[in-house]
Assembly symmetry: C2
Homo-oligomer: 241 residues x 2
Amino acid sequence: MTVKTRLYVDQPLAEGNQVSLTREQAHYLFGVMRMAVGGAVALFNGRDAEWRGEIVQAGKRGGVLECSMQMRDLQMPPDLWLCFAPIKKTRTDFIVEKATEMGAAKICPIQTDFTNSERIKQERLQAHAVEAAEQCGGTYVPEVANLQKLSAMLDHWPEERQIMFCDEVELGAATSLASARRGPWAILIGPEGGFSPTERIRLHNMKEAHVVSLGPRILRADTAAVAALTVWQAALGDWAS
Amino acid sequence: MTVKTRLYVDQPLAEGNQVSLTREQAHYLFGVMRMAVGGAVALFNGRDAEWRGEIVQAGKRGGVLECSMQMRDLQMPPDLWLCFAPIKKTRTDFIVEKATEMGAAKICPIQTDFTNSERIKQERLQAHAVEAAEQCGGTYVPEVANLQKLSAMLDHWPEERQIMFCDEVELGAATSLASARRGPWAILIGPEGGFSPTERIRLHNMKEAHVVSLGPRILRADTAAVAALTVWQAALGDWAS
């Protein structure tokens, strides 16, 4: 039997383990999907591979699944952060969804000098990442960090983490990632107005930063996020099979 | 003075030419943007570069702009078609927007064996492409074709046009575009359920088709469109400066 429905659960998964459902998950499985005892879903928790979970209890407010067999291995993404300046709500949601699909390990909303948005709803964005992983077949859910200031983040930047700095302005200085070294990386995408001169000078002076061009057209921040993730995955990530 | 507002007009642009506004454009400029006689906008028509247009008449139902000087050259995209199977409305809109930003020359909605959508609103999608070009600073608007069957399209496929075939299933057969030849190309993105076995066999047998992998994760059709455009532009398009 093919298992189509996938659920993220923050509980240990192993043969015979029982997993309890939240009220929302129970409503989804038994109310929306009309599943019942004996039915099966795919379970993942971002740590223990993907398991086949058989429904052993089904109620209006909860339910229990039992792990019967491992279906797929855990597929960890490369150690890549996506740092971006939050924009309009729907486009921010979209970036989180796309970063999950494209295999970012961590999603970091940043406040830049030209960022309009003063705050984000971290929990909502994290739920978006879970939903995207459920839908795209991923076994890993990237962590969505709290909003932080770019300047503060750079003050404590980990030395070993390279930065793919997508600077619209400095097309001439762009480099290729082809010869860059693998390891921990972060992609940095600016807000619609770009980075401020102060931020740009600071980034250009960081030895971890590699300026990368995303072509001759101006891209919206959400397009730039997917394009940058593609360029990075193809050059240094897990696309090169 | 910086000119921030950009308008697409389907009229010839040259020094001294006068351009008349539609009712919607007049409402946007004079009602929403509060502009008046003497103000300036950027005009483009996809053929004649970008011109500075000064407002010489402003009314509720129309207005007239006069081309005063050329601001930027026409930037044509490479000869690339994006062929995709339309999905849910908002995601189809999104694909058209992204294809415009990413520099596709033509956007071809296709009906595949597994496409759910039986029809599209071509005019609405074309208007989306215009809006995306206005907003992203493009001087070219890709044509959105009418929905056509993939099988019929392949029956009359132009021999010289190479196909970047994004086949989720056949990851092992994937090739790199690095050594592929430049010239006319088309990207082919399947619907959420992928291509049918018949379609896949036919495409794999076409000498124009190059199977390209978009990584180990399953991408939604809209993500796949942006990722595929990125891979193509970086390898064969106008990203390689």
